[in-house]
């Protein structure tokens, strides 16, 4: 799919989901994989808007996709301060071990994103954070 650049605002997050859903439909991902991919990208984009850009509306989200016979990848980039969301995974996993009453109310997003995508990669490329979400295509759903 053609890459898109979106404003990094809460109001534009639905367009991130629309992009993912269209890419998933084009790649003929099944319903479960489509839902999981949307969830992984939405959680991460929400964190970028809320914390990366700290709700500053000049920020941009750069979305692109790559599809081959085996997999669909959604690539989400931003120019906020360098931040590896996967570095927060260990803390998120630790908080899941706490009794319900003591759990911090945030920090679930990155854990859900990690659990939902078949692969979740982070790299810093120049001044951009690049998050890549991969879902494997099921050849039987063609």
């Amino acid at each position: 799919m053609k890459p898109v650049i979106l404003p990094a605002t809460m109001a534009a997050l639905y367009k991130v989901s629309e992009y993912v859903l269209t890419a998933a439909a084009t790649a003929k991902l099944n319903k479960k994989a489509t839902y999981c991919l949307r969830l992984a990208v939405d959680e991460t984009a929400t964190n970028i808007v809320s914390y990366g850009y700290a709700l500053e509306e000049q920020g941009r989200l750069y979305l692109s996709s790559r599809c081959d016979e085996q997999q669909l990848a959604i690539i989400l980039e931003d120019t906020a301060a360098p931040y590896n969301p996967l570095a927060a995974l260990a803390a998120a996993e630790r908080s899941l071990q706490l009794p319900f009453e003591q759990r911090p109310i945030g920090g679930l997003g990155v854990y859900i994103a990690w659990q939902s995508a078949d692969e979740f990669h982070y790299e810093l490329v120049g001044d951009r954070n690049r998050n890549t979400f991969v879902m494997y295509r099921d050849p039987t759903s063609e």
Partner: protein
């Protein structure tokens, strides 16, 4: 997102429709928290909710804690398999009272036809 709130006997029923995400969860919380008062019974009907992100989980946690602190009760009905999975992987599913459908939820909260 649409929220329709109804009252049946002493039970507040909130029927949600659409996506529960970072932009809609705050609105649901704002509408529902005033009902989480002493001894109140709240039923959230998720049967028309097609998507929920962690913002929805945070909303449910806040509502649950508020209700529990005031000896209220919260029941969630009609969760889709996808939403149930999200609640399950985060270890939250078992903490909530969930039912298949509205009638079962109302029965748990003491409503009988």
């Amino acid at each position: 997102m649409e929220i329709q709130i109804a009252t049946r006997a002493d039970i507040r029923i909130a029927a949600l429709r659409g996506d529960v995400n970072a932009t809609t969860a705050a609105e649901i919380q704002r509408r529902m928290l005033p009902f989480a008062t002493t001894g109140e019974k709240i039923l959230l009907d998720f049967s028309q909710v097609t998507y929920m992100s962690s913002a929805g989980l945070r909303m449910l946690l806040s509502l649950y804690r508020q209700a529990a602190a005031k000896q209220g009760r919260l029941v969630i009905v009609g969760l889709s398999d996808n939403i149930r999975d999200t609640m399950s992987v985060t270890g939250l599913l078992n903490y909530f009272t969930t039912c298949e459908n509205l009638d079962a939820g109302l029965a748990i909260l003491g409503w009988s036809v």
